[in-house]
Structure formats: C-alpha cells, structure tokens
C-alpha cells in the first residue's frame, strides 16, 4: 500500500516538477523534439536510400540468349526452368524484333550504322531475368548454362560487382551513421535533462536531510524525465509525419521515377521508436544525474 501510494505520489510530483520549472522543461522538451526530429529525418532518408538501392539492385539482370534454331518446346521448358530458379523475381521474353528496336535505342543518333543490317537482323531472341540480389546472379547463370535451346548466358560481372559495392557501402554507411546519430541524440537529450535536474540539486539535498530515501527522491525525477522525453518525442513524431507526407508529394511531382517508401507502416513504427527513445533517454538522463547528486 505504502509503495503504491508513493508510486502514485510520483506522478503528482513529476507533473508539478515539469510545471514549476517551466523554462527548463520547455527547453528540455524542445531539445528532445528537435534532436529526435533530426534523427527521424535521417532514419527516413536512410530507409529510402536503402529502398532505392534495393530497387536498383532488383533491376540487376542476366540474359539468356537463345539458339537461333531452338525448338519451341525447348523454349517453353527453359521458361519453366527459369521460373523455378530460387532467387528469380521476374523474367521476360525478348524477341529478335524487340532486340533490334533496343539496339536502335542504344545507338541514338548513330542509327545510320544499322542500314543494311536491319533486313538481316542477326540479333538473337533472349530471356531477361531479374534476380533478388546481385550475389545470386552467378548461381542462376551457372544453372541455366548449357540447357537445351540456350546459346549462351551473359551478365556484366563488373557492373554487378561495382553495384554491390556501392549499395553495400551505402547500407553500411547509413546504418553506422544512424547508430552514431542515435548515440548523439541520446547524449544531447540526457545532457539537457541532466542540467535541469542538476539545477535542482539543492532541492535534492533538502529532501535527503528531511529523511527521504534515495528511491523516494529518484522516482519523481524518473517520471519527470519520462514525461519530458515522451512529450518531446510526441512533438517530433507529429512533425516528422507531416513533413514526410509533404516531401513525398513534392518528390512525386518532381522526380516521379524515384521509388520512395510509402508513409503508412513506416511512420507508425518510427513513432514508436521515437517515443521509446524519448522515454529511455529521459530515464537515463535524469537517473544519472540524480544518482550523482545523491552520492553527496
């Protein structure tokens, strides 16, 4: 009973702490909000970058050239085999005619070069295959090599390697930065809450002199830290939600080809992360400094 009562007391104390130190509280809350906002913005950017990288990777293809005189039956069997390969996310049949069309596209202004070749059309038909990840390309190529109807399998090993490198660096860099920024955020917020608690060190000293136990003193400060952290996180979550939707609209108008992540499940998860971080940091920040002040 006594414990329950003093838990409850904590809420009143914490609220009145927030109110009666309003200048400090506003400063803490806005620090929490701003730092979390920056963190959230960065996380969203990282998620989107990673998504874009994923889409680019998913466009990684290999090409199976068909024998000029492959039997229709062979082609149909080959198609089934391609569809059955693990890691294949899509494939498409490219006829001889389509291949010629594409070559025209490649050459751009140098079309004249094709004069005389067009009637012959020496280009083979092919299957274009998209695989899930660049590291699967070689495996799939190896599997299809030498099947009936297959002339040869081609893919640009160099391009794949380089793309892999770039996206890996992007992902690794993004994750490292996100982690670092989370650390910075936690530190900044904890700093602010520590200062506000520190500014009340005389109060803590008095409480101790009147016979309060350490835990009795800590509990309201802990709650106060949580309140400040949550308030800041809520502000940040709201702000980022509006901003992200607005940015999506803007990007969609200007760069419609960029494959950005849709807001819904993403923002929800992000809000939870922000609230969790805010609360955590409030607890840690206030407890570290209260502990230190209690030592005295």
């Amino acid at each position: 009973m006594a414990t329950f009562r003093s838990l409850w007391r904590g809420f009143g104390e914490a609220l009145s702490g927030v109110v009666s130190n309003s200048v400090m509280s506003v400063a803490s809350i806005s620090t929490v909000a701003l730092t979390l906002l920056v963190l959230a913005g960065f996380l969203l950017a990282a998620v989107n970058l990673s998504h874009v990288a994923g889409v680019i990777e998913s466009q990684i293809q290999l090409r199976v050239y068909l024998d000029a005189n492959a039997a229709e039956e062979d082609v149909r069997q080959l198609e089934a085999q391609i569809a059955g390969q693990p890691g294949v996310v899509g494939y498409r049949y490219v006829s001889k005619e389509e291949a010629l069309e594409r070559l025209r596209g490649y050459l751009g202004e140098d079309q004249d070069l094709l004069e005389g070749v067009e009637e012959l059309n020496p280009l083979p038909a092919s299957f274009e295959i998209s695989v899930l990840r660049p590291d699967l390309v070689e495996r799939v190529a190896y599997e299809l090599q030498g099947r009936p109807g297959v002339d040869k399998v081609s893919y640009s090993a160099e391009v794949v390697r380089r793309l892999l490198e770039v996206t890996n660096v992007l992902r690794l860099g993004g994750m490292t930065l996100a982690l670092l920024l989370t650390g910075v955020t936690v530190f900044l917020i904890a700093n602010t809450i520590r200062i506000t608690v520190f500014a009340r060190r005389e109060e803590i000293a008095i409480m101790k002199l009147v016979g309060a136990t350490d835990w009795y003193i800590r509990w309201p400060f802990l709650l106060e830290g949580v309140l400040l952290g949550l308030a800041g996180a809520a502000v940040a979550a709201l702000a980022i939600a509006f901003t992200y939707r607005w940015l999506l609209d803007m990007f969609y108008d200007r760069l419609p080809f960029l494959p950005l992540v849709t807001p819904q499940p993403l923002l929800q998860k992000l809000s939870l992360v922000l609230l969790g971080l805010g609360a955590l940091v409030g607890v840690v920040g206030s407890q570290i400094s209260v502990r230190r002040l209690l030592q005295v």
């Binding site: 006594a2 009562r5 003093s6 007391r9 009145s16 702490g17 009666s20 130190n21 109060e203 008095i206 409480m207 101790k208 002199l209 009147v210 016979g211 309060a212 136990t213 350490d214 009795y216």
Partner: protein
C-alpha cells in the same frame, strides 16, 4: 541519547570547527547550545543528523554509532531527528503546507494522517493562514516557523533547532520556545542552538557553551554568559 566521544571536525579548507568535543545528551533533556558566531554550534548539530561526518572521534545515537551507519540507514536516523535548519532549507517549489507534509510523506504516512496533522502543526506555529504560500512569499520569521513545523510534524524522538528564533520578535520567539518546552515535557529530547540571551536565562535549563570549537562550559541549569574568550 547522543554520546560524542572526543569529536573533531576539520573542514576540507582546513578550518577546525570542533576539536575534541565530548558530550552526553540523555533522553528527555532540554539543552541550549550557546557560543559566539563561528564557535561550532551548527557544525556540532550537523554531526548529530549526519549532514557532516566527524574527522576524528565517534558519535553514538541510542547506543549505535552514527559514523559507521550504512548509507541506506541514514534516512531512518533523520526521521527520528527533527531539525530546524539555521537557513530554513524549505523546498522552493512547494507551499508551506506541502513542505510540512513532505516530512510526513517520506515516512510513508497515510493521506488521512497527513490531512489531519499538517494543519494542526501549522496552527501550532501560528501559520494556519499561510498554508498555501510559497517560501518566497513568506517573511523571514514565517519561513522559520514553517521549518519548525516541518521538524516536529513527525513527532520525532529528538528535535534539534539551530537558531529557531533568530528572525522572530520576542513574543513569537517565546511562543516557539514554549512549544519546544511542551514537546520536551512529552518526553522528547530538545537541543537548541541559540543566541537569545533572555530566553536562555529565563529557562534555567542545561547550557552547553562552545567557543572556538571547544566546550567551554556545561551547566545543568545555566545562564547565557558573555564572559567567554
């Protein structure tokens, strides 16, 4: 109740505030602590509720050593000792009422008990009408009386008052001392550091006189005496 055994207190800045003080205070006594400014009265008092630790020597409270008390036990010592601090030490963001209630709350007292005792004790020190005022809205003497109310609300075994009448007019001061006497009559130990010559002389109680960190005189029924060094 308290036994001090050749206690010395040297502050970090090398000031020797007490040197070799031995003193026994028995349960139920009323003791005046007198001496010139800087004699070491507040220091002595701070040792009793363990705001400071002695540099040398030992202090017993009810037979147990205060100096060797575990950290986690300190709050329970402090609840048995009600203190009126020389500089009041009220919580600035709490009303007079809430300041007094706080000393009860920390002991885990129930809401009903708090509602009953806080107004009663504020009435006792003559501040019923200032219950809702914050410390900075109180006059010097009013703050001192809130501090006294907080010290006694708990019904502690010992009341230690460091200069509790310094900011009070003689009449109010007498009322406060009467209150401490009443508390003492109910069996509580009272230790009062003071400069109020008239009060000390009229009360005719035990007087411990300090000067330059040493006990200069200890009379069972003494008077205030300006003749110290």
């Amino acid at each position: 109740m308290f036994q001090l055994d050749s206690v010395t207190k040297v502050y970090p800045n090398k000031v020797v505030a007490l040197s070799g003080v031995s003193l026994t205070i028995r349960r139920g006594e009323f003791v005046f602590l007198v001496g010139p400014s800087g004699a070491g009265k507040s220091t002595l008092v701070k040792l009793l509720y363990r705001e400071e630790l002695p540099t040398r020597g030992n202090i017993l409270f009810e037979g147990r050593s205060i100096t060797r008390l575990r950290r986690s036990q300190v709050p329970y010592l402090r609840r048995r000792v009600g203190v009126v601090f020389q500089d009041c030490k009220l919580l600035p963001h709490k009303t007079a009422e809430a300041n007094v209630a706080f000393a009860l709350e920390v002991t885990g007292a129930g809401a009903r008990e708090i509602r009953r005792r806080v107004p009663a004790v504020l009435e006792l020190v003559g501040l019923a009408d200032k219950a809702r005022a914050y410390p900075h809205e109180l006059s010097g003497g009013e703050q001192q009386r809130v501090a006294l109310a907080r010290a006694i609300v708990n019904n502690p075994a010992v009341v230690i008052a460091d200069e509790p009448t310094g900011n009070l007019d003689p009449q109010t001061a007498w009322e406060i001392v009467g209150l401490l006497e009443e508390i003492n009559r109910r069996g509580r130990t009272v230790i009062m550091a003071t400069h109020a010559k008239a009060i000390v002389n009229a009360m005719n109680r035990r007087v411990v006189a300090l000067s330059r960190g040493r006990i200069y005189r200890d009379d069972a029924s003494g008077v205030y005496d300006d003749g110290y060094l």
